[in-house]
């Protein structure tokens, strides 16, 4: 059992390194991951004053959401289109290993994007992150959950535009429903309930907690647990979809 998990992790890591080289670490992906969230922030900020703490947490979460899902949404589809996915399918690796490898690449990409945004933004805006370690943990769990979300779209789609459409369908409503730049408590009750089914809600909340509190609060613990649960469900869902679509 342990040997099998070691094998899965090592092979997933090789796939992640390959994906990073082939798809991720290119200038357009970084700019796209940052440009859309900044534009969305500016659109929100037109409505009135937004607290700097909300900006730092919201913008960091959005950068991870758009950065990871944009590229993750096409990573599997491109492999389907070029036939390179067949190479992975013919190798002695499980479908879950392929999905995990793809998610790991997105995870590292999300970490870097968040690092590029969170700490400089906090420094510039004068926001003090009371517990940077909790912020890093929140970023890590967020990045993995969003990455898994991107793969769901990619596993289902046959073509890149289809993957992008599914991805947009999932993430744009989230931006408005998850209290990204507005406190969730100001939402009508029904929308607050809907927000609890969206991973972005927990990401924003966990980052806000790490900025406001130096200790692990119950809210923070629930947020991290929810992000972990989203990751497991979305990775399993991606594996099932991929199996149905191609195997």
């Amino acid at each position: 059992m342990t040997k099998s998990w070691t094998d899965t992790t090592i092979k997933a890591f090789y796939i992640a390194l390959k994906d990073a080289r082939v798809y991720y670490f290119k200038a357009p992906n970084f700019t796209y991951g940052i440009l859309i969230p900044v534009s969305l922030y500016l659109a929100f900020s037109m409505a009135g004053n937004i607290s700097t703490k909300l900006i730092v947490a919201g913008l960091t979460s959005l950068v991870m959401l758009f950065g990871t899902t944009s590229i993750e949404a096409v990573a599997v589809v491109l492999e389907k289109q070029t036939g390179t996915l067949d190479r992975l399918l013919a190798a002695p690796i499980s479908l879950f290993t392929i999905v995990l490898g793809k998610a790991l690449a997105g995870f590292f990409f999300g970490l870097i994007l968040a690092g590029v945004v969170l700490f400089p933004l906090a420094a510039v805006s004068g926001v003090v992150i009371l517990n940077p370690l909790l912020a890093v943990v929140a970023i890590a769990f967020t990045s993995m959950a969003f990455s898994a979300l991107g793969i769901v779209a990619s596993a289902y789609a046959k073509w890149v535009p289809e993957a992008q459409m599914i991805s947009n369908f999932l993430r744009f409503p989230m931006v408005f429903l998850s209290g990204t730049f507005v406190a969730l408590e100001t939402y009508p009750f029904q929308l607050q309930v809907v927000a609890r089914f969206l991973p972005l809600t927990y990401s924003v909340e966990a980052l806000r907690s790490s900025i406001s509190s130096s200790t692990v609060t119950l809210t923070y613990a629930v947020d991290i647990g929810a992000l972990a649960l989203f990751t497991v469900i979305l990775l399993a869902l991606s594996t099932v979809i991929l199996k149905k679509r191609i195997v």
């Binding site: 090789y14 067949d86 190798a91 002695p92 499980s94 195997v247």
Partner: protein, 325 residues
């Protein structure tokens, strides 16, 4: 133990039956040819054998390992070279091979040694740092084959390995297939070049409409159609001769091609003297006369009703359409 054993292998795509209760075995160390027209079920069968798609029913074992129940174990000894080269264009030739080896957990020292050896063998070592995206079709093909061999498989699936390659590259790959087989590697060769299958394969299976219609050694397959012997004959003129020839005793069929006639007869020894009489009676001179043994192509045409040329043309047309798309 068989390299491949397939029993009742069946695959449905929705309600479409792609492969229908196929049975065959491939012996260790054999070069096994797999032929069939487009849409016959070749690719689906190969994808099931290589674990890329699951059969609807039936069993298949690779080197004694069940591909459905223990796919990871079964795939370890298998190398796959698909019809379309599937290397990563963004990665160098070297990195492509190293990544392929990593998927099989080949140790670092060994994978680097093998990658160097294969790149030298395929004449790509000098270009090892170049992105595969800038390679020619032939170079990509060679790199794809190298990637299929990096983990020293004991069973190699080759799908149309020489398709679209120049004569020199094709010859090099055919020689490589023979060399690999001499070292004990079992080869499962899918090709639409009948002559290639005839030259290389010890046994051949022909599939049509999802069913295996013939399975034997090339010579035995040819012998199976010898009830029709063939004579190619040309006269000093050809006008209206096809109809006149049809009255020849013992003749099954006469087909004109160019300035010659291909006669399918029951017995060449009986037909040749009759052709002399036919020429005299019609004031003709025989320019040339050849008796032919049935070719594997004749077997293929007989079994599938399709000529390999048509099949190859369809394939090329399909590729052009795909490229346009």
């Amino acid at each position: 133990m068989n390299a491949i054993k397939v029993e009742g292998l069946t695959k449905y795509y929705a309600n479409i039956l792609a492969v229908d209760h196929v049975n065959f075995e491939v012996n260790q160390g054999e070069i096994f040819g797999f032929l069939g027209p487009n849409g016959a079920g070749k690719t689906t069968t190969t994808k099931m054998l290589t674990g890329q798609t699951r059969p609807t029913s039936g069993t298949l074992t690779i080197a004694g390992k069940n591909m459905v129940r223990e796919p990871i174990e079964a795939k370890k000894s298998v190398g796959v070279v698909p019809e379309n080269s599937n290397v990563y264009d963004e990665m160098s030739a070297w990195d492509n091979l190293i990544f392929a080896a990593q998927l099989y957990r080949v140790p670092k020292v060994e994978r680097e040694k093998k990658a160097k050896e294969l790149l030298e063998l395929f004449g790509l070592y000098e270009r090892r740092k170049d992105r595969a995206g800038v390679f020619s079709k032939g170079m990509k093909r060679r790199l794809t084959i190298a990637a299929g061999l990096i983990h020293k498989p004991s069973l190699l699936f080759l799908d149309e390995p020489t398709s679209g390659l120049d004569v020199q590259s094709s010859r090099m790959i055919r020689n490589l297939i023979k060399d690999l087989n001499r070292t004990g590697v079992t080869i499962f060769l899918t090709t639409h070049y009948i002559e290639e299958a005839d030259q290389l394969c010890q046994r051949i299976a022909m599939i049509n409409k999802g069913i295996i219609v013939a399975l034997d050694s090339p010579e035995k397959l040819k012998a199976s159609v010898e009830k029709h012997q063939i004579i190619d004959v040309s006269f000093d003129q050809t006008r209206n001769l096809e109809q006149k020839l049809s009255s020849l005793k013992g003749l099954e069929k006469a087909v004109q091609f160019g300035d010659k006639f291909r006669l399918h007869v029951r017995s060449t020894s009986e037909a040749v003297p009759l052709l002399g009489d036919f020429a005299r009676e019609n004031g003709l001179k025989i320019v040339s006369i050849h008796t032919l043994n049935p070719s594997l192509e004749d077997v293929f045409v007989g079994m599938t009703g399709l000529s390999p040329e048509i099949m190859a043309n369809e394939k090329e047309q399909g590729k052009k359409v795909a490229n346009v798309d």
